[in-house]
Subunit: 386 residues, 2 copies
C-alpha cells in the first residue's frame, strides 16, 4: 500500500463504502424517496465505547473523499487532507472520522445522476428538493448503521457548518461538539442572489435541456463553468486576488493592436472548465437550493436563540477576516445567539487574506485552533484508547 | 412644451444632436477610424466667455441622455435627472452641461451597431478596442466643435470618473475641476474577474455567434441578461440588499412541495431581461474592456503621483461607504496620489447603504457636497452671467 511515497502523516489508500437505506425516506418537501444510498469513507478506528466518532459534512462542491488517496497512483488526496490524518488537526490516531457524499450529490450517493426506482432512466431534474434537515436525518441513519450513538464532533465549513448546526438542533443527544467554520445561520439576500445567477447560468445553457441533458449526450458545460466562475470569485477576497494576480498580463499588447488577456481571466476560465467536467449540473442546482433554504430560526419565530435553546452540544465557531461571502459578522450572529441561549461556545476569527476559501487551506492558526479544541474534547470522552 | 406636468426643476423636452468628425481618428490600439459620430445633449446656456461648460462622462451602461425628457409623453427622464437641472447640484441656470454617448456606445454614437464605412453591414465584433484615452480625445474634439476651450468641470461616476481623471492628465489646460465619483485609478483583479465572467456569459451564449448576431436576427439576450445580473449584484451592498429583500419569498412553499422563489431572485431576473432588450452585447464587451485597460499610472512607471503631476485641475473625489466594487480605499488611493502630487483636492466619503449604485441616487449629503463644490467653483469662473 505504501509503494508510493505518501507523507508520514497521510492516510494512504482509502476505499469508499456504500450505505444502503432500504426503506422509504420522507423529505421535508413532502416527497418520499423509496430508499437511498450514501457513499462514505472512514479514517481511524472506532473505539470500544463508540465515543470517538467525528462526522465531516461537506460544502457545496465537496464529497465523501475528504482525506487520503484512492489508489497508489492517485496524484491528488481528498479535499481536506491537510486537516485530517494521523497527527493532524482532526487526528485519526484519536478519532474515527466519517465522511460522506450527501443525498443529492453526484459522487456516488443517490441523487439526480442515479437511476430512478421505476427503472425509467435517471432522476435528473425530477430529483426532489433536499434540505439541510434531510441531510442531517440521512446522516443519522448512517450513524445508526455504523453503531455511533453520539458523535464526539460534527464538523463542517460553509454549507457543512450549517449541517453541524442542524445536528445540534435536531439531535441534541447525539452531538458532543458542533464545529461551524465560515458558516451562517442563513444566507443573506446577496448570497441568494449569487446562487440564483449561478443557477440561471446553468439552466439557460441550451445543453441543459431542462435538466435532461443525460438523454442528449451533451452536457451544460458552459453554464456550469460560468456558475463556478461566479462562485470562485466570491470565495476569494479582493486583496487576496490582488496579491495573487494583480493586473498581470497573460498575453497580448494593446499597442500592437492585440487583445489583452489578464492572468486572472485565464485562471478563472480554467477553473470553470475543470469544474464543469467534474460536477453534475442538477446537483449544483440542488446544493445551492439547500443553501438558500437553510434557516433553522424560521420554525422558531425567526428567533435563532430559541432555535438553539434545545441544543446540548458545545460549540466552536470559526470565521475568517477576509471572507465576504460568509463574513465574520454572520459567524458573530451565531456566537451571540449561542451566548444568549447560554451554550458553551468558543469562537475564533482567523486573520486570512484567502476569503471564504480559507476554510479549506492549511492556515497554521486555523489548524491550531481546531486541533487544540479537538484535543481537549478528546480528553473529555468516555474512553481514550481505541 | 410643458403640456406634461414636468417638475419645476426639470429640464423639459431635450433633443439630442449629433457631432460628426469627418477625418481619421487614430485609436490607442493603432486602429484608424475613418471619422465618427457622437450623439450628445446640452442643457443650460454657454456664457459669452465660454467658461461655464461642464462635461458629464457616462459609466458602463450610460449614454448621452442624462437629464430631461425626450418627449412630452416620455415617462422616464435621463439617467442623472436627480442631479442635473435648474437649481439642482449640477445647476443648469449656471452651467452649460454637455453629455454624450461615448465612442463604441450603442445609443447613436459610432460603435459596433454602426454601419462599416466600406458599406459591408455593421461593425459588430470588428469595432476596434476603445480606451478611456480615446474617449477623452474624442470628447475634446466635441468640445472644439462647441467652442469650449476649457471645461469648468469634467464630472463622472465609476468609468465616468476615470474619464474625468484622464482629462486632467491629457488636457491639463482644458479642465478647471475634475470630479471623480465612486471611481478608481485602475481596476482590481476582482473587478477584472467580474468583467471577465460577464463577457464570458455573453460570448458563450450561442446566439452571440462570435459577435455577428445582427446577421442572424437572434440576440444574445440570455448572456447579456446574465452579465447584467452579475454586474447588478456587485453594484449593490450586502446590507442594502438585505434591507430591501431579506429572505422574503416571491412565491412557493416548500412544505407544499412547491419550488420556493425569493424576491431577490425575481428582481434580478427582471433586471437582466430588461437590460438585454436595451443594450448591445458588443458594446458591453467593449465598455468592460475599456474599464479593464484603464491604468494611467502604467505609462509613468506605475507611479500615479507621476501620472497626475502635470494636471492643473482642482479635484473633488467622492466615494460611498458600502461600495465594494469601487471602494472608498480606491478613491483614497487617488486622493493620496493627488496630495503627494501637491494638487488642490477635496474628498468626501458619503455614508450610504446602496453600494456602487449610490452615485446615481439622490442622496442628500452627496448632492449637497457636489452642489456646494460646483457653486463655489462657479464663483471663481471668468464670467458668471450667461
Amino acid at each position: 500500500m505504501k509503494d508510493r511515497a505518501f507523507e508520514g502523516n497521510d492516510l494512504g489508500v482509502i476505499t469508499p463504502r456504500t450505505f444502503c437505506h432500504e426503506s422509504a425516506f420522507l423529505l421535508r418537501s413532502g416527497a418520499n424517496l423509496p430508499g437511498f444510498e450514501l457513499v462514505y469513507e472512514t479514517y481511524g478506528k472506532l473505539n470500544s465505547q463508540h465515543s470517538n466518532a467525528v462526522l465531516i459534512c461537506h460544502a457545496l462542491s465537496g464529497h465523501h473523499h475528504a482525506a487520503g488517496f484512492h489508489s497508489k497512483d492517485d496524484d491528488k488526496p481528498g479535499w481536506w487532507n491537510n486537516c485530517i490524518g494521523p497527527g493532524k488537526a482532526i487526528d485519526t490516531t484519536r478519532f474515527f472520522v466519517v465522511t460522506l457524499n450527501n443525498l443529492g450529490g453526484c459522487h456516488g450517493s443517490t441523487g439526480p445522476c442515479s437511476a430512478r426506482p421505476e427503472g425509467m432512466g435517471n432522476w435528473g431534474p425530477d430529483f426532489p428538493t433536499v434540505t439541510v434537515e434531510d441531510w442531517v436525518r440521512s446522516q443519522a441513519l448512517l450513524a445508526d448503521h455504523l453503531g455511533i450513538r453520539q458523535f464526539a464532533a460534527v464538523i463542517g465549513g460553509s454549507l457543512g457548518g450549517m449541517q453541524a448546526m442542524q445536528w445540534s438542533i435536531d439531535f441534541p443527544e447525539r452531538v458532543c461538539a458542533a464545529i461551524m467554520i465560515a458558516s451562517a445561520a442563513k444566507l443573506t439576500a446577496q448570497n441568494i442572489a449569487f446562487n440564483e445567477i449561478a443557477r440561471h447560468a446553468i439552466t439557460s445553457d441550451p445543453h441543459f435541456a431542462a435538466g435532461r441533458y443525460r438523454a442528449t449526450g451533451e452536457n451544460p458545460d458552459v453554464g456550469l463553468a460560468l456558475a463556478r466562475m461566479i462562485g470562485h470569485v466570491t470565495y476569494l477576497s479582493a486583496s487576496g486576488m490582488g496579491q495573487r494576480f494583480g493586473r498581470q498580463l497573460k498575453s497580448g499588447d494593446l499597442a500592437l493592436g492585440q487583445d489583452v488577456e489578464f492572468q486572472v481571466q485565464s485562471y478563472l476560465r480554467y477553473q470553470g472548465q475543470t469544474f464543469s467536467r467534474q460536477f453534475d449540473a442538477n446537483t449544483y442546482i440542488l446544493m445551492t437550493r439547500a443553501l438558500d433554504l437553510f434557516d433553522p430560526a424560521a420554525a422558531y419565530g425567526d428567533d435563532l436563540v430559541e432555535a438553539l435553546s434545545g441544543a446540548k452540544a458545545k460549540f466552536l465557531v470559526i470565521s475568517f477576516s477576509s471572507d465576504w461571502r460568509f463574513s465574520t459578522e454572520r459567524s458573530g450572529e451565531i456566537v451571540h445567539a449561542l451566548i444568549r441561549a447560554k451554550k458553551n461556545v468558543v469562537s475564533s476569527v482567523i486573520e486570512s487574506e484567502h476569503g471564504h476559501d480559507s476554510f479549506l487551506l492549511p492556515l497554521p492558526r486555523y489548524l491550531a485552533v481546531l486541533g487544540t479544541y479537538l484535543r481537549q474534547l478528546y480528553e473529555t470522552l468516555d474512553e481514550h484508547a481505541p
